[in-house]
């Protein structure tokens, strides 16, 4: 049922291979038997109404499920061909995956330290290197101009939208292979959102991006391929344009994209 990937992505290697993924909270299932592949250097969109299991899906990829004893995961996720549940050092796995969850979190550290935290955890950077990383990440997250004169202010006291961009900058500071964005623009104004979207398009040359979004038009603007999740089921995966031009396998996809429910 998977439509063939576009020629451009077909040649790329598989970054993330998900096979038979089922997620349950207690006895309630949040995601059922999802199989999909995400290629290197693509933006992979995930759309779907509330409750469809999108966030749960992301959490299993970077193994945040271990913090919730109630959360049970079956199936396999291969990251660069290695099962994420077999990574002996889960911290190394997480440090290669940048994540932005919908609720912005500015850590109660200075803005500078927020962005320098991940490089410092990894170690081996001189303070001049750190300066460069901080400026680059804040610029990419479209926050640099607003904060460059007060890098020692507390990140946790920025406005909601600024904290969200700070979170994005922090994710980028990890220099990740894979960037997972979960409704990143929820608190960001449209103009800034566009600037970040432009950055994401550039980043595609370097990294792989999973973009979970409630804004189907955002998926259309950015994603090479898109999956449609509905109540824990992966209804459709295809080249993004196909979803919008009506070349879909399942009528529910068309209904959702056209705004008939959700």
């Amino acid at each position: 049922m998977v439509t063939p990937p576009s020629p451009e992505t077909r040649q790329s290697k598989v970054k993330l291979a998900v096979e038979g993924l089922t997620i349950r909270y207690g006895s309630e299932s949040a995601l059922r038997d999802v199989s999909l592949q995400i290629y290197e250097h693509e933006i992979f969109g995930v759309i779907g109404p509330a409750n469809s299991g999108k966030t749960s899906f992301l959490k299993t990829i970077n193994r945040m499920d271990v913090f919730n004893p109630n959360m049970h995961v079956e199936g396999t996720i291969l990251f660069d061909g290695r099962d994420v549940r077999r990574w002996r050092n889960v911290y190394a796995l997480r440090s290669r995956i940048g994540v932005v969850f919908p609720l912005p979190v500015g850590l109660p550290l200075s803005i500078y330290d927020n962005v320098a935290l991940a490089p410092r955890l990894r170690g081996g950077q001189s303070s001049a290197d750190l300066d460069v990383i901080v400026e680059r990440c804040l610029t990419r997250a479209a926050l640099w101009d607003e904060v460059k004169d007060r890098l020692d202010a507390l990140g946790s006291l920025l406005s909601g939208g600024q904290q969200q961009r700070l979170t994005i900058a922090r994710a980028l500071s990890q220099d990740p292979d894979l960037l997972m964005l979960d409704e990143f623009s929820i608190a960001v104004d449209p103009v800034t959102t566009m600037r970040i979207e432009d950055v994401l398009k550039e980043l595609r040359n370097e990294i792989t991006i999973i973009l979970v979004t409630n804004l189907v038009q955002q998926a259309r603007r950015l994603a090479d391929r898109t999956a449609f999740f509905l109540q824990g089921e992966c209804v459709e995966i295809g080249a993004t344009e196909d979803l919008f031009t009506g070349a879909v396998q399942d009528p529910r996809t068309r209904d959702y994209v056209e705004g008939k429910f959700g």
Binding site: N62, M64, F67, P69, Y91, A92, L93, R94, S95, R96, G98, V99, F101, L103, V105, G106, L107, P108, L109, L117, A118, L121, R122, L154, S156, L157, T167, R170, A171, Q174
Partner: protein, 289 residues
């Protein structure tokens, strides 16, 4: 347009009434403190002098100063802090950040709360059995401070755990998402934001430790010694025990003397408390989130 209805007026009256009531209660709370302080200053103020603070008692404790007791209390409190703060903070970090949520953890938490309720005389007997006799430290500063430390550990643990848990989980998750280990998260984000709460626990411990008499009187504090302690295996005089002695145990003590001793004791506690509170306010100075 916005005229008060009868209900509004009634609510406003009730509101005023309750504010008065609660204000009055607070006033009642402060009253005993004020009375104690004024009495002590009035009765004991005249006793305090440079010689009183810095010489030994003479004439069978009926004259002279309190220097050995003063130094002894500082020793006891300091050694107790050195033992209980690292231990208590480490235990609290474990319980709050690492321990799995299961029956054993709950049982330990319950035990800690109960430990806080054990009367100090029971701690004293435990100290005699465990530290003086079994570990063979004899009656010494070490044995007394260990007893004090055991007694005040729950306070430190509970205060530390609560201030750790006041740091939102979202901060930890953000760090874990970046690949930080639990310890890296604790050290860089959680602990720095919990310090002021931990200090509260330490303040409480200092006040309590300084004033305790029962736990030290069988384990390390003595009625009288003209010598200052040279190490943790020495016995020592202590302010709280000295106050007990001059008020009830020796005849012929001038009436003002015990008030003077009490005033110095209270002064020590208040000074340490205000130092810690000032430090805490400095740390808490700006709101962090």
């Amino acid at each position: 347009m916005f005229e008060a209805t009868a209900l509004n007026a009634r609510n406003a009256r009730i509101q005023t009434l309750f504010r008065l009531l609660f204000g009055l209660m607070t006033g009642l709370l402060i009253l005993p403190v004020l009375i104690i302080l004024t009495t002590l200053i009035h009765e004991g103020g005249s006793v305090i002098s440079y010689d009183f603070l810095f010489t030994s008692p003479t004439d069978g404790m009926t004259a002279g100063g309190i220097f050995p007791a003063l130094i002894g209390t500082i020793w006891l409190v300091a050694v107790a802090l050195i033992i209980s703060v690292p231990l208590g903070v480490a235990a609290a970090i474990y319980l709050s950040e690492y321990a799995p949520e299961n029956w054993l953890t709950r049982a330990i938490n319950l035990a800690i709360i109960n430990l806080a309720g054990v009367p100090s005389i029971v701690h004293a007997l435990f100290g005699v059995g465990a530290f003086v006799l079994f570990l063979n430290f004899g009656t010494s500063i070490l044995a007394a401070s260990l007893t004090l430390a055991v007694m005040t550990l729950p306070v430190v643990i509970v205060a530390t755990r609560e201030s750790l848990q006041a740091v939102p989980l979202a901060f930890r998750e953000a760090c874990w998402n970046m690949g930080a280990t639990r310890w890296q998260t604790i050290r860089r984000v959680v602990l720095p934001n919990a310090v002021s709460g931990i200090l509260t626990g330490v303040i409480l411990e200092v006040s309590r430790t300084t004033g305790e008499t029962a736990p030290i009187m069988f384990t390390g504090a003595v009625f009288f010694t003209p010598f200052l302690p040279q190490g943790v295996f020495d016995q020592t005089m202590a302010m709280s025990l000295h106050l007990f002695v001059v008020s009830t145990q020796v005849p012929g003590v001038p009436e003002q003397l015990p008030y003077g001793v009490a005033l110095v004791l209270i002064g020590m506690v208040l000074t340490m408390n205000s130092l810690s509170i000032a430090f805490r306010m400095h740390l808490r100075g700006r709101k962090k989130w």
